[in-house]
Assembly symmetry: D2
Homo-oligomer: 460 residues x 4
Amino acid sequence: MPGIKWLERITNTVADRGRELLGLRDDEAKNSLSDLCRRLIAGRGEASNIALAREILRLFENTDKDGKDEFFATLAAQFGPDPQGISEASAAFDRDKPATLARLIEAVEPPRQELFRRLNMAPHGTASLVAMRSELLDRLRANPELSSVDADLKHLLASWFNRGFLRLQRIDWHSPAALLEKIMQYESVHSIDGWRDLRRRLADDRRCFGFFHPALPDEPLIFVEVALTGEVTAEIGSLIDPEAQLTDPYAADTAMFYSINNALRGLRGISFGNFLLKQVLSDLGDELPQLKRFVTLSPMPRFAERLNMLLAGDIEDWPRERLDPLLEDFEPALAEHSNQASPSAAVFELLQNFDQHAAALAGPLARLALLYISAMKRSPGVCCDPVAAFHLANGAVLERINVGADKSVKGMTQSYGVMVNYLYDPEQVVANHEAFVQEGRIAMSRALKREHEKHIVGKR
Amino acid sequence: MPGIKWLERITNTVADRGRELLGLRDDEAKNSLSDLCRRLIAGRGEASNIALAREILRLFENTDKDGKDEFFATLAAQFGPDPQGISEASAAFDRDKPATLARLIEAVEPPRQELFRRLNMAPHGTASLVAMRSELLDRLRANPELSSVDADLKHLLASWFNRGFLRLQRIDWHSPAALLEKIMQYESVHSIDGWRDLRRRLADDRRCFGFFHPALPDEPLIFVEVALTGEVTAEIGSLIDPEAQLTDPYAADTAMFYSINNALRGLRGISFGNFLLKQVLSDLGDELPQLKRFVTLSPMPRFAERLNMLLAGDIEDWPRERLDPLLEDFEPALAEHSNQASPSAAVFELLQNFDQHAAALAGPLARLALLYISAMKRSPGVCCDPVAAFHLANGAVLERINVGADKSVKGMTQSYGVMVNYLYDPEQVVANHEAFVQEGRIAMSRALKREHEKHIVGKR
Amino acid sequence: MPGIKWLERITNTVADRGRELLGLRDDEAKNSLSDLCRRLIAGRGEASNIALAREILRLFENTDKDGKDEFFATLAAQFGPDPQGISEASAAFDRDKPATLARLIEAVEPPRQELFRRLNMAPHGTASLVAMRSELLDRLRANPELSSVDADLKHLLASWFNRGFLRLQRIDWHSPAALLEKIMQYESVHSIDGWRDLRRRLADDRRCFGFFHPALPDEPLIFVEVALTGEVTAEIGSLIDPEAQLTDPYAADTAMFYSINNALRGLRGISFGNFLLKQVLSDLGDELPQLKRFVTLSPMPRFAERLNMLLAGDIEDWPRERLDPLLEDFEPALAEHSNQASPSAAVFELLQNFDQHAAALAGPLARLALLYISAMKRSPGVCCDPVAAFHLANGAVLERINVGADKSVKGMTQSYGVMVNYLYDPEQVVANHEAFVQEGRIAMSRALKREHEKHIVGKR
Amino acid sequence: MPGIKWLERITNTVADRGRELLGLRDDEAKNSLSDLCRRLIAGRGEASNIALAREILRLFENTDKDGKDEFFATLAAQFGPDPQGISEASAAFDRDKPATLARLIEAVEPPRQELFRRLNMAPHGTASLVAMRSELLDRLRANPELSSVDADLKHLLASWFNRGFLRLQRIDWHSPAALLEKIMQYESVHSIDGWRDLRRRLADDRRCFGFFHPALPDEPLIFVEVALTGEVTAEIGSLIDPEAQLTDPYAADTAMFYSINNALRGLRGISFGNFLLKQVLSDLGDELPQLKRFVTLSPMPRFAERLNMLLAGDIEDWPRERLDPLLEDFEPALAEHSNQASPSAAVFELLQNFDQHAAALAGPLARLALLYISAMKRSPGVCCDPVAAFHLANGAVLERINVGADKSVKGMTQSYGVMVNYLYDPEQVVANHEAFVQEGRIAMSRALKREHEKHIVGKR
């Protein structure tokens, strides 16, 4: 009798019959998975395919690690293109180029691509495929033969998560709790400690924006946190303090971008950051026309590691001729203020007690950071520091280097507490981008340019 | 100064510079189009790509027929894969199969696929690409070399318009006027004559549903029109009469599906129909649990053409041994009632004055229609009649054949006024589908089965 | 059994029982209406009241004119306050003022107010009550005793349609067809001739805004139509021409308000206009910061009538001492150009053939219009012309008087084709409002002020 | 210059001028408040009234307790109706009844009603007035002269929060965090301990619904919490346990209503409960047609207090003749199991260790509870227990009395741990309601009816 959920019914019929036909028990899922996948590829696009797809995704989610290992291995071994077919098609292509290209393209496309497309038709199919890729990435290092499966899945996801399909959405205290929960979970730059902390980060003098895909309505793909302030903030503490006084957003003239996070691991390698940043700059400028400056407060994630290598005598990555004069300043300041065994331990100790003894270290350290960011390029447009690379390639100006800006354990361990302000000036973004990408030229604030000329280029 | 639409600004800067750099005037667009496309492919994913993409789409829209011809020709000739690269990659693949597959796949993928992906990032990019394919389809017959471009564009669109991304949406008098306008424009089965006619089709005793893609919010990709009735309707007139009396939808026990339309020409060959129909059946059953029957009233679009061929002596397509007994009934009935020159003219005249003289023709004509639908398969699951093929492959039952069901000019010219009811019974859909696809067996109502056995199979 | 629409069930049970208990047939509705109303007032707020309310509204809608007449008469005669109760309460109040006020208030409140509040709980109750008041207004002139019923209904509606509950909403081609249909129906200033005409009025270089109440989501209570132009438009034709060329809204510097309409007759006397206008000015300024001028193009609905009276010798309404000098200019111009029997017929004829002969009439006519608008106040802040009164009390500037601005039959008949530009300058709105309301001083453009001084005040 | 937020500008202008004109400093707010109120009432409905209203509400919020006291006192003393006017109007009414009613009504209406209506026009005006009434209620007991102000405010709020304007909305984990925060704050029956606890209460096997008013979009006026179960639950612990296992909502046949909360204190005395409950029953039945039973698990908020009075010898409220036999059972059971000083202390101790010794007490206690609920009416339809009164007047069946159902401190202190199941059967709701309201007859389950006859009525 009609009147009850039809599609549900057809779906269940097929799923039950599927298991029945194949004589399946749930613990045999790993065998059946591949069989069902074969059926799904063979199917002719009927609605029952949706049921099959749902069943496959359900089995995959419920199977254990071994079952998943086996499933991925099968995808790699049995759902690739037919080598014989490729040989024939490429031979034909050699003979008769334009006419047989279509055949060659078809021969080369791994059938698992069509499989993934059909799995995407299941309810929540997209979310399941993103989660599946996350599982796959876990296995990639140990199983390099899975990289072809990953290539196919990534290819499809990159196509589906094309910028043209994403929507920028503001996130605030009126957003669904289910979404906010994800924000807390995914924030990895400056972690959020519970709902109270989150609430402060979404208050009236803050902004948070994310990109969303229509198939994943409560999942921010990437999001950025912004504080509205009256100055270019030099240290992170005041921006993430849950007790910070609320200020008037309409009186602010500066937007501080202090955290940007990719959310879904299964979308690794598919980049949204530069689109997000520029869209947010644009939207903020529209909402708050009084804003005069758009500036980041960014970490230098590998600075401490490199500096420790340097202090330990390994200078491979550093440009010798520019380095020596800087070390001449740095090491005495260090020696004078610490009696730790190793230089890196000394730096660490000094900076932790920053306010007391280490002021003398600040200048030399800032200059080393400037060298690290500005000079360490192997070819134009390539920085050692990934965050610098991101913002400079986006057309930002290297505005200011702040010593003692992040005294958290993470901040100290990764970058000896140094943080960087990058400034976005819409008038210069295109020119900066081209200068950086083509000639490796970095746009700097006047103060840093002077510093750079005096201490780094000049002393050469 | 910030505070005005940034992205707008960057976009315009790039676009202006683009034209300027290339020394372009708008009438030189056709040259610049390919150049800009090359730049877009070479770009590194920056936001300025969005500006480039927008400019290319703008130029394409504003260029004349020649410019478009040339643009498509360039896409075919210059944005395909590099044959040399393919040869090398396939040679490498021959030597070292699994390891070099990725390289081969990459070599084979035509660069225009990446081009289309980047064009999609522009505002309204998806809509523009769909429109571009529509233009491309116009040229395909005369320019077979463009088929590779079409294959690439279709491949991407099929991936982007995956069922998993579509939303079923009810369309009624509360829908946006912009959307309803499209419904009037796209309805091609039983055309809609202005807003008053449309309004009746969307009244309380009707339902209309469409599939929508998030990137085209006001564009129904495909839509179906349904009338809620107290019977299996045998003729189309009462269903599309703008003056028809409103009835109580909660008293109806039958849902009559009387029109299903694909909307966007640029998505030709990407099928949504079976998904839509089953989803609508499911949703209707949920909303109106008292519905007992889900039935179509469908045309037979090529029946008249085939029958005319037959009457003219060309019986190639008809199964001789089953045909003769039917003609024995048909031709005398025809002869008796008409004195037209040709048989087909006679049929036409008779059926047009159906109520008066032609009752005797009804039985024989219905039997010929039954033969046309049921027996004309070359292999299991293949019908001559595309509408029959669609519904039977979907698992429907061939319920009833109605002579004199559509007396409009179009109905007479295409199918001599005959229309068919296909019935969807959720309990049987899967079984019917499999029987039809695998064995060519058609599920029929008891009455038609009797008719079929007596007059068609039986007389063999 | 539960699982079917409960509230529906309870509702129907009560309604059926209601009719049954009262031994009702539908044609006896008029009796039962009052009885059911009595039951509804007596009820104790239970959900079954919703059913009763629905039944009453249904009966009212289905009853004929006589039934409604009787229903209203009963409301007036039997659902007013109890005079005896009032006498007692007011006697008590005389003795013991503050303590017994509540009792007096209660005694004075007509029970029909509570009745209307309970009717409002029915599905679509608010819409039904608005419609009921519309019917009531039809009967008011002939039945003055119904005015107390109207006072109660109006009192409630004014409270419910408080500005705090209204939402400003933009209306465009993406609005629901059901809403747009209402716009066509309610536009009475410059009528809309079908969907094509409507579509032009909602194009990209136009704006339309309305106030909506949450209980009437598809009903614009009042709406205003705006054209974005590059000048202060002096005649209506170009603004309402369905064939008018589309212009770029972002290049416009002027917003022309050319039509403002109250929609629901049942809300007559409850004013939304000044709120709407200022809210729209504010929103437009935010959306299009380049706009420099906000100006109306408004009719003078009673100018022709008054001028005809004047020409016929009835000068009662006109200030004699200022009038004579104007007539000295006007009458010769008239005499010279026409040989019609009556002066008003002459004016009409001349202005209709405006372009040919009547230029000489323009100046004198404009001066008479200026006199009509500016001098015809009986007390400060009261104009003869209701449209002028509205805008001037809102703080607008009298900017320009345009002869030959509306050559439609309606425009000629009501105001001899003259239209007025009122300009809204946010800096002056408050001051203008106060000057007008308190001293009757009208803010004028420099040109009109000069004209006013020279021809009107000066000649005195 | 236009182009910045106009209304904002006008609003600020007026507000600033307001303070300036009155020579106000913020600490003089209490004087200015009444003066501004007078201006607001005198104003003629212009947009500047919105600014005035906003300023008054702002001043009220920022003033201290004394300022508010004074403001309310002024409202009571100076914004009431004019006694002289009332006297004259009522004298006129005595002479000429129907004609002068309107004048009397007008004379009697306190001007503060119009004041409140105008305050409602400010942004967030409705919320501010609700908050204002909450402050007013705090002062009512100590300042009975404010009751007239409260009557006016309540009258308006009751009219504005008419059932016809409320929307039922489901509340779940996808609701805005701002709304969910309110749920935690307002839940007072079984308090919610943080976000984790809340999340469990909104999981898939739960439902939560609230009534919302369009002017307060994130404020639930009243909300009900429901658990979907496979049985009529007899104790509250399992329903509010944050660790409770998730169950399948589609397998549930019972909806347990375990908490219903009024949210806004400022709406005290305006009842929404019965509308909410029946609407939710209806919606649940539609969503989950397999539900067979709709049952509450409700407290008996004053049972312990009354029982303690009884045990202390005060039997005023209990029907002597029915009580004695019950006490004959109860007191020995009590004596046997406890050696506490007072009887109530003994009951408390026994029930707290319920599982061990007190089974013998269960029966007698349940019978006393049954007596308390069923017999304690002074007139038909009036129960001592407010929760029983609510559900029985709504047409519910008294289904089961559960001893040991709520062992929380609150549950023990208020009702000695006893909870009651009331069952809603749509077929009987109307009949039960009428029997209860008119004859005081309570619909009981068969088991309770037997118990009632045997132990309570029978022993009489």
